[in-house]
Subunit: 462 residues, 2 copies
């Protein structure tokens, strides 16, 4: 059997899968600043109406526009690959498949949603998108999408990353993205922060504030804001990952996987691989579906389920989700894309329903898994992706102990070629195992308890 | 028609093509320090005998070992891709195909030869390989190959690159490569240089001297040296590029290309795509085959054809090739992989015979082509690869002027994700057009004329 399983263009999925149609319990509403459910038109200054319609849709299948497919064909259908070299190394009876999302031009799964978001905005008459980026994966993906679609793109990049990761910024510039360090002097929010803290390293919360401000204050109304994870429409767009993988497994006569794994920060890459198989699980299939998150930022495994803001500055509505608290400051781990206090409400709902079984993994185990991967399969994965690989190795070893020929599928969310400093820290012995101390979770509880707009609360495992 | 054309593993080429069997005129011999042809056994301290046999072979087809294929399957067969987005942008009637060598774990075509070289050394009982690297592409490929095959790998990296490109060094370390800055204190050559010039930035010539010294002075005789370009066996291993491309064009019912293009530094990536089609040209097919080189280092287009050393320190034998002189110091252009004074003797012979028509392209035109590529096809190419893209754009525009439906094929030798500083220089307007001044070529002529071991001499276009 070939190690790479390709789909022809004619077999690419032509509809996204919307799990909101199939959840056993309907989603809790998103709440506005007044504590009442948000109405679609309230989001209109931030997002175009065609995206808002997707955000609130409960239609099971949503067509992927032909023009969007024409752009995705640059790297999609993406290869499904069999990790035979890792299998041999582990001496596992499991068959390990991975969906290779590192083949997109920006090197991750992010453009799967950046492209349709840019396209829908363009259709709606928007000329310019704003966004924030931390390490730069999302900013690069949106700059790429905007360039191909013909929109201007403004990216507020957390200042410390802007200074420390010049290559990601250059990548955005190659695609004509206008990337500035945040806080900047271009917005009221940025100027206010700079006046108070001229030497601040910046934060994702500050950058979101700046990006939203520039979107909603455009006097011509031709600017909107774009988010790379968490929201329902983002999860929707990413389901192309799992839908392709399902078609590829079918093509080679493989059965449904026994285990599906993805790393989870805001949830989009995980949802992408997981939701199409979650549908099978809802229909009775026996599949273990595992979001793998950092032990240093254990949103799904240790945080309470509550209503909370998506951003530090409390500019977003309140989402029903597991949250470490919107003022949670994650420790500086190298998997920057997983340092998020909350999680996609759709993924959270699946966890509440018992459809997904989250797992937290320590950074040292993750980097060990990444090195094992690089020295067997050969490729250098993103620090985020290493969480999925570590969980996969755990499951492959379990299959070996149980003597079971399991089928394991995971999402290889991106390559690590521009994030090698974490490997350096690990290889030179500078990384220590790190579990989030309980005292941090007490702060979370306090943050959420004092939140006036958090009527529902359900404690998770914690 | 699909934009990506894949081959199944069962259709991968199982033999390399050796152009030495088909050249209209036999190759001139390589000469030793005494001016007489080098005998295979004289190379034995440097290379294992099974590689030396390939180096001097005139057998047309040479089997690729199954164990080598098992490693190459990690990324091979590599996709052939149709550049439809560039075609649309240029409004050309040409059909542009490119062989995507950027999909290997180290990101370039280099592992196509690193893997078999490591394998043959291992078969011969060697425990350790040494090599030199400039920007780090070759060092990373050899570290990767040695890790998978089970050899130690020692890489002498030019000090200035070692300091300026920490990510490439980290990449080598991920694959357990032992990478040191050259000149180092580990060799007599290195120590002698450091004593005289403690602050030297290093050079490829110095690094070669160190790598060869460590290979030939191993008291156990278990170390050999490995070279990533120029030599015949390297060109042989790279022919898998063109052989796959030929099978892929056939698979979709496409005719033989009218134009075949590759960037040329030492010649290996170009030979890889070109030699299998050069065979067709020798047999009468009408194909224009273009090595594209930097105007700043115009070996094939402006240098004399002569006998010269492959290295600055004159440790190698004398090769019959176009050469800018072994003491030529190329200007500091960003396409580090193309900064070489000489060229593969096999490629040079093809140029002498009129089979290949070299073209020199200015760095500004190359970066403009790279940006056009990134903003149409979406991918960010290596600075070296941009030379092939620039030549492709020239040919596509020519096809448009002529109104001809030409088929153009080029080798996309690698991605540029770890070489973005050149893009930065270009985008910020710091790059100027640069043609090598004639005075530099007068120095070349002087260098080669005073060379006592240069009996044959034929002036090229210059």
């Amino acid at each position: 059997m070939d190690r790479k399983i390709h789909l022809d263009e004619k077999d690419i999925p032509r509809q996204w899968y919307n799990i909101a149609a199939d959840l056993p319990t309907p989603m809790l509403p998103t709440l506005g600043p007044d504590g009442n459910p948000v109405k679609p038109e309230m989001l209109a200054p931030v997002f175009p109406m065609n995206i808002i319609e997707q955000e609130v849709s409960t239609q099971r299948w949503i067509d992927i526009p032909e023009e969007v497919l024409d752009i995705l064909y640059r790297w999609r259908p993406a290869p499904l690959r069999r990790a035979v070299y890792l299998e041999r190394y582990l001496k596992t009876p499991a068959r390990i498949y991975y969906k290779d999302e590192s083949t997109s031009p920006p090197g991750s799964h992010k453009p799967n949603t950046a492209v349709p978001q840019a396209w829908y905005n363009k259709q709606f008459g928007i000329k310019r998108l704003t966004t924030e980026t931390g390490a730069g994966q999302w900013g690069a993906a949106l700059a790429f999408a905007c360039k191909l679609i013909g929109l201007e793109c403004k990216i507020f990049m957390v200042r410390i990353s802007f200074d420390q990761k010049p290559f990601r910024k250059l990548m955005m510039q190659v695609w004509d993205g206008n990337c500035v360090a945040s806080p900047s002097s271009e917005t009221n929010a940025g100027r206010a922060i700079l006046e108070k803290y001229p030497d601040t390293p910046g934060s994702l919360g500050m950058a979101i504030s700046e990006a939203i401000e520039q979107a909603v204050t455009d006097p011509k109304g031709q600017t909107r804001y774009s988010l790379g994870s968490v929201l329902n429409h983002v999860m929707l767009h990413q389901t192309i990952i799992g839908l392709e993988a399902k078609a590829q497994l079918k093509k080679i006569g493989e059965r449904l996987p026994d285990v599906v794994i993805g790393c989870a920060g805001g949830g989009s890459n995980f949802a992408g691989i997981a939701f199409p198989f979650t549908a099978d699980k809802i229909n009775g299939a026996n599949i273990e579906i595992i979001p793998a998150e950092p032990a240093a930022c254990p949103t799904l495994t240790r945080a309470p389920f509550a209503y909370d803001h998506g951003d530090t500055a409390c500019m977003t509505p309140l989402f029903p989700m597991y949250s470490l608290g919107h003022d949670f400051v994650p420790p500086p781990i190298h998997a920057g894309g997983l340092r998020y206090h909350g999680m996609s409400p759709l993924v959270c709902q699946c966890v509440v329903e018992g459809l997904h079984k989250p797992r937290a993994i320590d950074q040292v185990e993750c980097y060990q898994a990444a090195l094992t991967w690089a020295q067997t399969e050969g490729f250098i994965c993103a620090p985020e992706t290493s969480h999925a690989i570590a969980a996969t190795i755990q499951e492959a070893n379990k299959a070996k102990e149980e003597g079971k020929e399991k089928v394991i599928l995971f999402s290889y969310s991106g390559h690590g070629l521009m994030d090698l400093s974490g490997y350096d820290a690990f290889m030179s012995g500078k990384l220590q195992p790190y579990q989030l101390p309980d005292v941090m979770l007490e702060k979370t509880e306090a943050c959420l308890k004092t939140h006036p707009k958090a009527p529902q609360r359900k404690t998770g495992k914690w």
